[in-house]
Amino acid sequence: MAVFGGRRRDDNPALPPGQYLTESFPVLSAGPTPSINTEDWEFFIHTEAGQTHRWTWDQFIALPSEDISVDIHCVTSWSKLGTGWRGVSLDTLFAEVETGFDFVMAHSYGGYTTNLPLGELLNGRAWMAYEYDGDELDPEHGGPARLLVPHLYFWKSAKWVRGLVMQSEDNPGFWEENGYNLHGDPWREERYA
């Protein structure tokens, strides 16, 4: 009798429970890939006081950036170790932002949304990434720029991000509203609601 194993879910200590290692970079999108011209691109952070902080592409790219090497974990069970990115820390983007709200809704070109606690975006844990593996970020992987929040399942690292809106409560984003976990910690296997 043949026994189905599926992709081997390893005991590798670098892998969260239920994950397998992949060398490829699978693409998962809730919709078509938007084509975004960096001339039209804009990124904003909107606060409860009605303030909107805006960056054009040139302003964004001129901010201090860093090389990032992190492991990423998709809720569909693949993990990729030591991925290399370049991007701007959210600490930098939030430096001038004043807010009393604890939660963030990320909005993307194409309409995708995902919710995150502000505390988990700060202190060197999250970036706006615009390069992958030394090259500009491919549109199918979220280019020109995507969120990179590697300590949460990868659906939280929204592709094609255009803005962050502060919210007083942890209102669900797109997948979260449709049955996925509000938080999404791979080490605690927070896959579903």
């Binding site: 699978p26 693409v27 998962l28 999108s29 809730a30 919709g31 078509p32 809720v75 569909t76 194409g110 309409g111 659906w155 997948w175 509203e177 449709n178 049955g179 996925y180 896959r191 579903y192």
Partner: protein
């Protein structure tokens, strides 16, 4: 994984309706296009099934399936129109 056709919704919606939704006519909330659900474009696998309007990409239906539970969202549909054959498509062999 690139997108699929609305036909693929027939599986995850089996236990949701007494009819086969992929052969029903429906109208997009956003652009008013009327089409058979089988003509929608389906993204989002393997996280879920995100069916979008063939004309304007508006999200018509979202289904997330996992062991023991299913989440179903029809937020982008104005209506579904069910023909008798769609109901017959769903009558189980045991009936």
């Amino acid at each position: 994984m690139d997108h699929l056709d609305g036909n693929v919704l027939a599986g995850p919606s089996t236990d949701l309706f007494a009819f086969d939704p992929t052969t029903t006519q429906c109208q997009c909330q956003s652009c008013a296009d009327i089409a058979t659900l089988g003509q929608a474009m389906v993204y989002g696998q393997p996280m879920g099934f995100v069916a979008r309007c063939r004309k304007c990409d508006n999200i018509l239906i979202v289904i997330v399936e996992r062991a023991g539970q299913k989440s179903f969202n029809m937020r982008g549909l104005r209506w579904l129109r069910i023909a008798d054959h769609a109901r017959n498509d769903r009558i189980s062999a045991e009936d």
